[in-house]
Symmetry: C2
Subunit: 274 residues, 2 copies
């Protein structure tokens, strides 16, 4: 039994480590789960990586990331659909029950158009996901990423896409406090998503003041302003019993000895959920 | 008659220039309006600055900025109210019909509490604003500023505060495309705000990809992904006939010869509204 059964770590959080190092170190730290990023599978057999993780005692929580459906041309959009199909195969082989979707956006393309292309792209790959037994989780991204990473920026919008696609049981939402904490509708949308059986994943980290980089200056839980425990309680109150996934992009932390960094993560996690 | 009657420039856009330089150069460029920042009034008589601007042929559009109502202590909140009262006096003496409110936030304080303190702070100074004949415009700030600059991050929230304060005729909204462009409700909220006589101001600039600094890397109109003309048309379709206010914080542009920068602004404005 892992000592921290609901702690999952995203491998990108310790980016300097190899796939194998992540598996071993997270298991040693007593984490219950691991979320792989696709680069972890480069030049590796996904099935074997999956076996290694399970043998180390880790649940594979998800594979990050699919998505990026919008494109300026039909060819670009088809290439993205093809890549998402490869991602679904990888997740199936890995034994990951879920792919997190960063939905995409094209700078200068109207957001409405990107949102339509996102719904179309997801619709195109949903049958593949269902056949593979892999769920798809739309991750609404912070509005500061609406230019080139995601035209889906709130849980409400993610829910609207799920509605539009007929509330397919394999399509849901990955909620990340970093992207959503500011939203006055968050509590209500968490509850709604759970009622609709769409709350597939829960990611944590913190928002630093000041934030010096739009991408790679996320904070460790407790060093920022996000009411993580409150949001986490809202999530748990819906009956959610999945992992709390630590996903931190940080130039500062990536430059540290990663063993020390992992110790800090475990301490912060323990303080948060004490 | 100014050659660009609906062009207003925020003095902070050409931060290296003195108050007097801004007045003269904007008038020479054919701008119809000027929005002063409070630092422009340091060691100056607001009434005289106002006269200078009007004599140069410029309308004074607003004074930036009041607000920052939330505080960790009652004393801090009272100090903010006192400062907003001074700001109202300055606006009155300057002859500015409007103060733009950056509402404030305290890192780590629950956003709900900050929002309540914002409504309380505005309620405290509204009688002063009314007595002085100065309107107050809530500027919803991009969600990336929810930590320490504003707990009001959408037009919907700004409208809710206006509702809560009884739809006071001196309280409305300053809409800035930089903060709002990503919001799927934007068109609807622009229309609603105008119907309720609350659309007091309209600010323009652009969102660059990538954006390298959360504060001071705004783009010139046309170099980013914001559908400025579309949003501007939504605004005009409500009957709004006020200025389009160029407000650009940019380390890059501030380091240029400001005369060249002003020429670029005028060209970009002309292209946008050709």
């Amino acid at each position: 039994m892992p000592r921290r059964p609901r702690l999952c770590i995203h491998t990108i959080t310790t980016k300097p480590w190899s796939t194998e190092d992540c598996i071993q170190r997270y298991a040693d730290a007593g984490a219950g789960g691991i979320t792989f990023w696709r680069y972890n599978l480069d030049n590796r057999d996904p099935a074997q990586v999956g076996r290694q993780a399970r043998e180390a005692g880790l649940d594979i929580v998800s594979l990050c990331r699919g998505g990026f459906f919008p494109g300026a041309s039909a060819a670009a959009r088809q290439a993205s659909i093809d890549d998402n199909r490869r991602c679904i195969e990888q997740a199936r082989d890995l034994g990951a029950p879920l792919i997190v979707l960063v939905c995409g956006a094209v700078p200068g393309q109207p957001l409405d158009e990107s949102r339509k292309q996102i719904a179309d792209g997801i619709a195109a790959v949903l049958p593949d996901a269902e056949a593979a037994g892999v769920k798809l989780g739309i991750e609404p991204l912070h509005p500061m990423y609406a230019d080139d990473r995601s035209a889906v920026n709130t849980m409400r919008q993610a829910n609207e896409i799920c509605d539009r696609l007929g509330s397919h049981p394999m399509l849901g939402i990955a909620a990340d406090v970093y992207h959503l904490w500011w939203d006055p509708e968050l509590e209500q949308q968490v509850r709604l998503s759970a009622e609709l059986q769409r709350l597939f994943a829960f990611h944590i980290c913190d928002w630093k003041t000041p934030t010096t980089d739009l991408l790679n200056d996320r904070g460790l839980m407790g060093e920022g302003c996000i009411p993580i425990r409150q949001i986490s309680d809202w999530v748990d109150q819906t009956g959610f019993s999945g992992c709390r996934e630590v996903e931190i992009f940080s130039n500062r932390y990536w430059s540290m000895p990663q063993e020390d960094w992992l110790n800090q993560i475990c301490s912060a996690y323990d303080s948060l959920y004490a």
